[in-house]
């Protein structure tokens, strides 16, 4: 049982973990290291979360630190603001991103503003975690990608890991960050791969993209689960003799454009990949910024590979909606063919 891992964590053991297990490991590490950390949400206790992200935490850390809340997302966000203002470090789980919407008011009006409103007197070091994205044949409202909504809210960080290692490091940094973080977990790749993680409590920076693959011919920019298809596309392009650079944005907001611009200045071509609805998404910001700041380097229009301006279909048609590796390859080839 996972609850026995506590001792082993202390010994800096290396763990062979999936992304969701890395989340669990980071939560465990944070709970050990900082007595002010509390984990809360629907079903996070005995059940260990519907995806088991909080598995074993209740047994290891007790009822006071791993808290099942009533079924009320606005409340979960609101009490987190209250707790955080008094020095606790709440890490709240929203069961699926499709149910985050009643928490929008608290995040926009309070979490992101408490420090500014009080000119630094009070602050809001909370994390709102939610699994997001489609592709697992879940029911309606269980497959949303509305990261753009939160990215547009001043005072919030929006962080999205795309591998076990980054999940561990980014979540630890998010919990330690003095300001609120919306931490979105790509559930489609929750169990896709395993990585070796040394549980050393080392965080990863929240102000930088990660370049996952160097390349000179074009830049592929993605985040979350789409990193998977993007890397597959890069591999396929390599077979076709095209050398793609792959950038994992990771921290969506505030956005590290420097890394992206450096890459595009080198390659002159860029495809941005997002699962979310096409219009007014995060990809538009990235594309706009490239157009504004690297226009003269662009040898071809930035392409976006995205979902559709529709609700995510019920599962029997969700694959029609999801951007595929083939779509990315096709867009990449299109950018290569122009100019």
């Amino acid at each position: 049982m996972a609850s026995n891992r506590r001792a082993t964590c202390k010994d800096l053991q290396t763990h062979d973990v999936t992304l969701v297990e890395a989340v669990n490991l980071a939560l465990r590490r944070a709970l050990i290291d900082d007595p002010d950390v509390v984990v809360l949400g629907e079903d996070v206790g005995t059940n260990g979360g519907v995806f088991r992200a909080t598995l074993g935490l209740r047994e290891a850390f007790g009822y006071k630190r791993v808290i099942d809340t009533p079924l009320a997302e606005a409340l979960i966000a609101g009490i987190s603001v209250g707790m955080a203002s008094q020095g606790l470090r709440p890490v709240a789980e929203i069961q699926f991103m499709g149910f985050i919407n009643s928490a929008v008011e608290q995040m926009l009006c309070h979490a992101g503003r408490l420090r500014n409103r009080t000119r630094g007197r009070l602050s809001c070091p909370m994390v709102l975690r939610a699994p997001f994205g489609g592709g697992i044949h879940a029911p309606e409202h269980h497959s949303e990608s509305t990261e753009a909504m939160f990215a547009h809210m001043p005072g919030l960080r929006v962080v999205i890991p795309s591998s076990p290692t980054r999940a561990y490091g980014l979540l630890l940094s998010s919990i330690r960050d003095p300001d609120p973080v919306v931490f979105l977990e790509p559930k489609r790749i929750y169990r896709l791969v395993r990585q070796q993680i040394e549980d050393d409590g080392q965080g990863l920076p929240l102000d930088t993209c990660f370049t996952l693959r160097q390349g000179k011919d074009l830049t592929l920019v993605a985040w979350g689960a789409m990193i998977h298809e993007t890397l597959l596309a890069a591999r396929e392009l390599a077979q076709q003799g095209v050398d793609a650079e792959v950038i994992d944005v990771a921290t969506i907001s505030p956005l590290d454009m420097a890394t992206i611009l450096r890459s595009v200045e080198k390659t002159g071509r860029c495809v941005v990949i997002q699962e979310a609805a096409r219009s007014f998404g995060v990809g538009s910001e990235i594309s706009a910024r490239i157009g504004e700041e690297a226009l003269l380097y662009l040898r071809s229009p930035v392409q976006r590979v995205t979902g559709y301006d529709t609700p995510m279909p019920y599962p029997s048609n969700e694959s029609l909606y999801m951007p595929s590796t083939a779509d990315i390859v096709e867009a990449a080839r299109a950018t290569l063919e122009t100019a």
Binding site: D43, G48, V50, D68, F99, Y308, Y314, N317
Partner: protein, 368 residues
């Protein structure tokens, strides 16, 4: 109304867990009625079982069984008039089927096909079930407001679970029912659990029915495993609502005998002993016992019923499995009344993608 505790009496019940009659059956409830209710509950239980089996065999996606709650849905469905409107939650299979939603449609919804919501006939203006917990209650209040404003003698039934009562929007909607005296009956399916969270961790009140006191409407608690009690309470409340006397909150006390959904494993968080005790209160069994004991149900009838029901469900399953797929662009076509220029462009893009992928399938695939 606040002065009287009568609104929240001890649980209303007519037929107890042992199949005994606790008090005279209400008007309209006779042997034929009880037989019909029983038959419907058996039918729904069979559908439910089949749906779980379909999921287990990869022929359906996540499904939320209504095992143990059949009496609630059946009682509601029998109490409603055709021109009332149902705003269901996701365990209202029993009510929906009584309202004319086909079993095939029930399966289709959980099989991930929006066409399952294309209800016709009596259900043509009923809502599909609402996944974001609690949000449906204000739709129901809005529908009730529309009825009131049009001066028609109709009412709305809106359902939710015990966990849903923690959501502010449920309170907001019920509060409106109170202040506008809307023709709405809210039925809280108290099955004791919200996934892994027990009823006792949702609220500090003794009952959920007493939440009616905070919004100035009638509230009562009924034995949700007694189809007669549910029927009687809902019918009475609906009649009151249609007469312009306002809304009612009915807490139907029951138990979720299944996992939360097929994606859940309830053994992680609740005692086998608790579940097996809950089976003693099985709503189907008690009605069967009553019918048997009173000589109105024979083993032959039971066998015939099971055969009919099996056939009905099997037919629904085969219709479900043989339904031709939706047009690929259906998910784009219904977003607006007419496709907008951006959506038209996106539909074209979709069709090109599909052609590309089909071609690639023919040759050497590079799709996902």
């Amino acid at each position: 109304m606040f002065d009287s505790l009568d609104q929240v009496p001890g649980k209303l019940g007519f037929i107890d867990a042992q199949g005994n009659t606790r008090q005279p059956l209400p008007a309209g409830v006779d042997v034929a009625w009880l037989q019909a209710s029983y038959q419907h509950m058996v039918r729904i239980r069979q559908l439910d079982k089949k749906a779980v089996a379909l999921q287990r065999t990869g022929q359906m996606h996540t499904y939320p069984p209504c095992l143990g709650q059949e009496a609630i849905g059946t009682g509601i469905g029998l109490a409603m008039q055709d021109d009332d409107i149902l705003v269901p939650y996701y365990r209202d299979q029993a009510t929906q089927v009584l309202r004319g939603v086909t079993m095939q449609q029930v399966l289709q919804v959980w099989g991930g096909d929006e066409r399952g919501n294309l209800f016709t006939g009596v259900a043509a203006r009923d809502f599909p079930n609402s996944v974001p917990i609690g949000t449906q209650m204000s739709h129901a209040a809005g529908i009730a407001a529309a009825m009131k404003s049009r001066g028609v003698r109709q009412a709305v039934v809106a359902n939710c679970g015990d966990g849903a009562t923690s959501r502010g929007d449920v309170y907001e909607a019920l509060n409106l029912v109170g202040v506008w005296q809307l023709p709405m009956v809210a039925v809280v399916n108290n099955n004791q659990w919200a996934i892994s969270v027990p009823r006792s961790l949702q609220t500090g009140t003794r009952t959920l029915a007493e939440k009616a006191l905070a919004v100035g409407i009638e509230g009562l608690q009924v034995d949700g495993n007694d189809v007669v009690a549910v029927f009687h309470a809902v019918r009475t409340a609906l009649a009151r609502a249609r007469r312009g006397k306002g809304g009612t909150l009915i807490e139907a006390v029951s138990y979720r005998l299944s996992d939360h959904t097929t994606a859940d494993d309830a053994t992680r968080y609740r005692d086998a002993a608790e579940v097996s005790r809950a089976w003693d209160y099985d709503p189907v069994k008690r009605l069967q016992t009553w019918l048997h004991a009173s000589g109105h149900w024979t083993p032959a009838q039971e066998q015939a019923l099971l055969a009919t029901v099996k056939k009905e469900v099997d037919e629904a399953v085969s219709a479900y499995l043989n339904e031709p797929p939706q047009a690929p662009d259906d998910f784009i076509a219904y977003v607006f009344a007419e496709m907008t220029p951006p959506l038209l462009a996106q539909r074209d893009r979709l069709l090109i993608r599909l052609a590309r992928d089909a071609a690639a399938q023919g040759g050497d695939s590079h799709g996902q």
